[in-house]
C-alpha cells in the first residue's frame, strides 16, 4: 500500500514516531537539475544532519526508534535546508558514542592499559598515559574497582571503545579518577539527558537542600557524595524517583526533607 508512506518531517516534530515511519524532507529549491546556476549568487546549501533514531532511505528519513521527533534549525538559516533531526527516545542500555563523557569502573589492569566497564556490550580501554601530567615514570594511581570519569576517543560499532581522561589540549577539565566514598547508581539515559540540560530544575532544587558533589555519566551512571551517608542516600533516592515523579510530587518530597 503506497498510500500513507511518508509524512512531511516538519509536520511530525514534537510528535511520537514509530520505527518504519518515513519522513519526507522538503525539496531543496536549488536542486533543479535542468538549469545551471549562473552568477555568484550561491545559496547556502545547508547539510541536514540525521541524528540518533533516524537513518537515510530512498524517500527521506526512516525512523528506527520510537520516541518524540525533535528538530534544531541550522544557525542563522532562514531556510529549512540545514539543521538536524533526531528522535528523543527512552532507553536503559548504553551504546558508546564518540565524545560522550561517561563513568567507568576499572575491571582489570593489563600492562599499560586499563579495562573499564562502561555498561555497553564491550569493555573500554584506557591508556595510563591518558591522564593529565602522566608520564612513563609518573603513573596514575589507579586500582581495580576505582571509578573513572572520562570521554570516548574512539567509539564505533566495529572497534573496541577507547577512553581518555584528557581533552584535546592535554588538560583534564574535570575528568580523571573519582575520589573515595560517595555512591554510584544507575538510571535511564533519558533522565541523564534531562539532568544535563542547562538550568535543570531538579539540580537547582536539590542544591538548596544539602551541598553535594555530583558526577553524571552519559551511560546512565550517577555518582553522588554529600556530607553524611544519610544525606547521600536521600539525594540518591530522590534522583532515582525523579524519573517517575512530576514536578509537583518532587517539590512535595523535597519540602518534606528540607524540614529535617
Amino acid at each position: 500500500m503506497a498510500a500513507g508512506r511518508g509524512t512531511a518531517a516538519e509536520a511530525c516534530v514534537g510528535q511520537v514516531v514509530l520505527p518504519g515511519d518515513v519522513l519526507l524532507l522538503p525539496a531543496r529549491p536549488d536542486e533543479d537539475g535542468e538549469r545551471l546556476r549562473l552568477g555568484a549568487g550561491a545559496a547556502p546549501r545547508g547539510r541536514l544532519l540525521c541524528g540518533p533514531g533516524l537513518r537515510r532511505c530512498a524517500a527521506g528519513l526512516l525512523v528506527t526508534k520510537c520516541g518524540l521527533l525533535r528538530h534544531r534549525q541550522a544557525g542563522g538559516g532562514a531556510t529549512a535546508a540545514g539543521g538536524a533531526y533526531w528522535v528523543d527516545s527512552q532507553q536503559k542500555r548504553y551504546v558508546p558514542v564518540k565524545g560522550d563523557h561517561v563513568i567507568g569502573i576499572v575491571t582489570a589492569k593489563a600492562g599499560d592499559v586499563f579495562k573499564l566497564d562502561v555498561g555497553g556490550s564491550e569493555q573500554a580501554s584506557l591508556s595510563y598515559l591518558a591522564f593529565e601530567g602522566a608520564t612513563k615514570r609518573n603513573r596514575p594511581n589507579v586500582q581495580v574497582g576505582d571509578l573513572i570519569y572520562g570521554q570516548f576517543l574512539v567509539a564505533n560499532k566495529d572497534m573496541e571503545p577507547e577512553m581518555v581522561c584528557i581533552d584535546s589540549s592535554g588538560r583534564s577539565s574535570g575528568m580523571g579518577i573519582i575520589g573515595e566514598d560517595g555512591f554510584l547508581f544507575k538510571v535511564s539515559l533519558g533522565l541523564i539527558r534531562k539532568l544535563l540540560a542547562p538550568k535543570c530544575e531538579i539540580i537547582q532544587e536539590l542544591s538548596q537542600l544539602y551541598p553535594f558533589e555530583l558526577v553524571l555519566g552519559m551511560n546512565g551512571r550517577i555518582w553522588v557524595k554529600a556530607k553524611t551517608v544519610q544525606q547521600t542516600l536521600i539525594i540518591v533516592n530522590i534522583l532515582e524517583a525523579c524519573e517517575y515523579m512530576t514536578a509537583e510530587q518532587r517539590k512535595q518530597a523535597l519540602a518534606k526533607f528540607s524540614g529535617n
Binding site: L18, P19, G20, C66, S89, G120, K157
Partner: protein, 193 residues
Amino acid sequence: SSPSPSPGDTSVLAGVYGPAEVKGSRELPDRAALEVLLRPKVGLPGVLERSREQLLRQTCEAVLLGVLHPRTAITLVLQVLNDAGSLLSCCLNAACMGLLDAGLPLASLFCGVTCALDPNGAIGLDPTSRQEQEARAVLTFAIDSAERKVLMATSKGSCSVEEMQQCLAAAQRAADTIFQFYRDSVRRKYSKS
C-alpha cells in the same frame, strides 16, 4: 521488559536484554546475535517451544537492524503467563513491543494475527483454545507495519490456497488495529515525561 497485549485472556511477558557481551562461539562478526527464549506457563520448554522460538527469532531478525551492533548478543525472553488460544500471535506482539520499548533499532514493526478456519469455511480471528481445537485449520501470520507484507506464516491443518489467501487478507486488515494500539501505547508512555 514490557507488558503484553492479550486477545482474550492469553498473556505473555517479554523481556529484552542487549546489546550485551556475547560468549565466544555465538559471536557474529557483522551483526547482532539474537536469541529468543520461550518459557511455557508450566513444565520445561519442549520441542514446541523450540520451534516457536525459531519462528520468532526469524521474524525479529527480519526487522531488527542487527548490523548496527556487530559482535553483540540480544536476548529476548518470553514468559507465558496464561494461554487461552492464539499464543503464537500473542508472543509475536509481545516480542515487538519488547524490542520497541528497549530502544533497539528496527526497520519496521510487526504484529501477529491468528486465523481459524472452522469446518464450514468461516474465518475467525484470534480464536480461543476451544475454537482452535474445533477448527479445520489454524494459520498464524506475522505482518510488518511498512507495507503490510508477510514476515512469517505458519499453519496447522488443511486448507485450500484460496482460503489461505482470504485468511491473509483478513489478517492484514486486522493488523491495522494492532499497529494503532502500538502507537497509542507509545504516545501514552511519552506523554508522561
